[in-house]
Amino acid sequence: MQLQILVNGLLLGGLYGLVTIGFSLVWGVTNVVNIAHSSFITLGAYGAWLLYSRLDLGPFTSLPIVMAVMFLVGFAIQHQVINRVIRHGLVMTLIITFGVDLILTNAVLLTFSADYRAVKLPYSSSGLTLGSIQVPYLRLSIFVLALVIMALLATFLSRTRSGRAIRATALNQEAALLMGVTIDRVYATTYGVAAAIAGGAGVLMSTLYSFGPEVGRGFLTRAFVITVLGGLGSLPGAILGGVLLGLIEAVTTVSLGAGYTEVMAFAVLVAILLFRPQGLLGKRFYGGAKS
């Protein structure tokens, strides 16, 4: 049973990691705590549901489509809305992303009603059986996807021009400006990428849960904790932090009781801030070199 618990925690951690990567990236690069992140997850889930119910597309087929659309949506929102407020400081960006979140969530509510949807596939709850351990396929694929996305994103950030521009902006905005980087476009691209990944997480989540317009909301606090845990702006940190949190939650369920998982999550947050505020894999002041 212990091994099953660990597997559960690991797989849950994969989901957490996937949800957090984009959030951490945006925070690290643009210094925006993106409260609207949860609504991107929601949009991804509904996108997957729409494509499944109208065009019979499975989640893995609709994944690239939804991610592409979400990139455009995120790019547009950042460029037109959030960019205008960014120079006014953290509080304003909090307020505006909160507003964006409200608008998007309520738009979803109006369009789709509060009815719960699900993408039910024939293989929805089946999985591998390794001895006495059950490993559900969908959760495993989320874990794998998280790793794949992390690798792709890392490649993007180090090998492509846009990616390097993003890293440059995060390290030193003024120097990047001097090098001819269009900061606005960098910010928008980062945000778009984050939205795309969140949308991807949403697509896969549509197969796991009966979801309503608020499905993303429950993940925001976790994303916050994991970002701090793993280190601001660090991609491996997001995954590692996610996995760690998943494991902590799983073990807490067994040792202290399932009611304490939230308590533990925030206890971890406090501990990290006390003892290693840059997070496990974060560098001090990464992304903080602007005001």
Partner: protein
């Protein structure tokens, strides 16, 4: 245009101010459209003796965690309001009052609901309050209505703690929460072979915990052993570790006293773990149609208990039989009603009877009238005790068989046989 250089001139600034004002006004106007307006009750055409209107306030969860249940409640209230207005309204003494329901969305949040209840009473000046969704929220909002001496009829609020405060203006239509799974447990005890062990899991919420306590007491009183009794956080996205623990204990019965999202989560995660107890029972979620729709075949043979089901053999003169109410409701809204809609609908009927008896809108007299009522309705029997509890009602147990709800207990409403153990 977006570098705003044109605002550097006087004319430019003027234009900018004008545009901003227009946009702001437009937004406010647009927002106030989505702001709560009185529900669309049929506006009375100018009648011979211009009927008066009585306002009833409802702060209910139209968004948030409880949006599903809240929407069903609103439909139930609307259903009653339309029906009563169609026959001219409620006769109170020498006047006839049309009913106007004033709605606000409390976003499934207690603090918001409390503020909205205060707003309904102080600003909208409603005469009565129909309850919000869930005991937790009703506990808070009823404290406000009690302060202002306005009657609240709680339609989905049945945690015992609410009725232990000596409130004079609170009434609840549902039997108390601890009895929720009693019919399932009582039924299980009649099965052969009789189940020996039970596990109970519950989200951390006033209602759910109360139902779990009642279930535990009943299970133990019938000689079964409770092998696991755990809480998990409200709105949890993953209970696989908890369920792994349950699986390890291998109980005959698993009782889950949660809400809709918990129910669907547990069923799919149990399937992932490739284990099921012989008897799986839920409060609330099992009777909601989306449960069967979203889970498909996985929902088969799940047990549930309900305060009311369309095929229960109850009836009254206003709505007809439970079945007729359900059919009329379905004709209007396209879905079968659950108790979330039926309880609100009956609350209107109860209020109407009390008003007719009291002959006035005065809260004290209406409260006394409510306490003196003994009704048989399509929802079941209604009789309030001194604290406002409906002591005449009782829930019924059912099982999902081939996508249908089949009532199994109490015996006088039983319609079929159980499939046990769960294949």
């Amino acid at each position: 245009m977006f570098s705003f250089k044109w605002t550097r001139t006087r004319a430019g600034r003027l234009l900018a101010t004008l545009l901003t004002t227009l946009v702001a006004v437009g937004l406010i106007a647009g927002c106030s459209k989505s702001e709560p307006k009185p529900a669309a009750s049929p506006t009375p055409a100018p009648a011979a003796a211009a009927p008066k209107t009585m306002k009833i306030g409802v702060a209910v969860s139209m968004t948030g965690n409880f949006s599903k249940e809240g929407t069903l409640m609103k439909q139930g209230y609307d259903f009653w309001a339309e029906k009563i207005n169609a026959v001219g309204g409620i006769k109170v003494g020498n006047d006839t009052y049309k009913v106007e329901l004033v709605y606000y969305d409390d976003k499934s949040d207690t603090t918001t609901s409390v503020k909205l209840t205060e707003k309904l009473i102080t600003e909208d000046k409603v005469s009565f309050i129909f309850g919000p969704y869930s005991s937790g929220i009703t506990q808070a909002t009823s404290a406000i209505s009690e302060k202002y001496k306005i009657i609240t009829i709680g339609t989905t609020s049945n945690t015992p703690a609410l009725y232990e405060r000596n409130f004079k203006y609170l009434f609840g239509t549902l039997p108390l929460a601890p009895t929720y799974l009693h019919p399932v447990i009582e039924f299980a005890a009649t099965l052969d072979p009789k189940p020996k062990t039970a596990a109970i899991i519950t989200p951390d919420n006033l209602f759910a915990l109360s139902a779990a306590e009642g279930a535990k007491a009943k299970v133990e009183s019938l000689g079964l052993q409770v092998v696991l009794n755990e809480k998990f956080p409200m709105g949890a996205k993953d209970v696989s570790s908890l369920l792994s623990q349950v699986k390890a204990k291998n109980p005959d019965m698993l009782l889950v006293t949660g809400f809709f999202t918990d129910g669907t989560l547990v069923v799919s995660q149990l399937k992932e773990l490739k284990w099921s107890p012989k008897l799986l029972a839920f409060t609330i979620s099992a009777s909601i149609p989306d449960f069967r729709k979203n889970l498909g075949a996985d929902a088969e043979n799940v047990f549930g208990a309900e305060w009311w089901l369309p095929n229960m053999k109850y009836e009254d003169k206003f709505y007809g039989s439970a079945r007729k109410f359900a059919d009329d409701f379905k004709a209007k809204y396209g879905i079968e009603p659950t108790y979330h809609a039926a309880s609100p609908a009956v609350s209107g009927l109860i209020l109407q009877k009390a008003l007719e008896k009291a002959g006035t809108l005065d809260s004290d007299k209406v409260a006394d009238a409510l306490r003196s009522l003994e009704l048989e309705t399509f929802f079941g029997k209604i009789r309030f005790d001194a604290q406002g509890r409906n002591v005449a009602g009782q829930p019924g147990a059912f099982q999902i068989q081939k996508g249908e709800l089949v009532e199994l207990w109490p015996k006088d409403i039983a319609r079929g046989k159980a499939v046990y153990p769960r294949p």
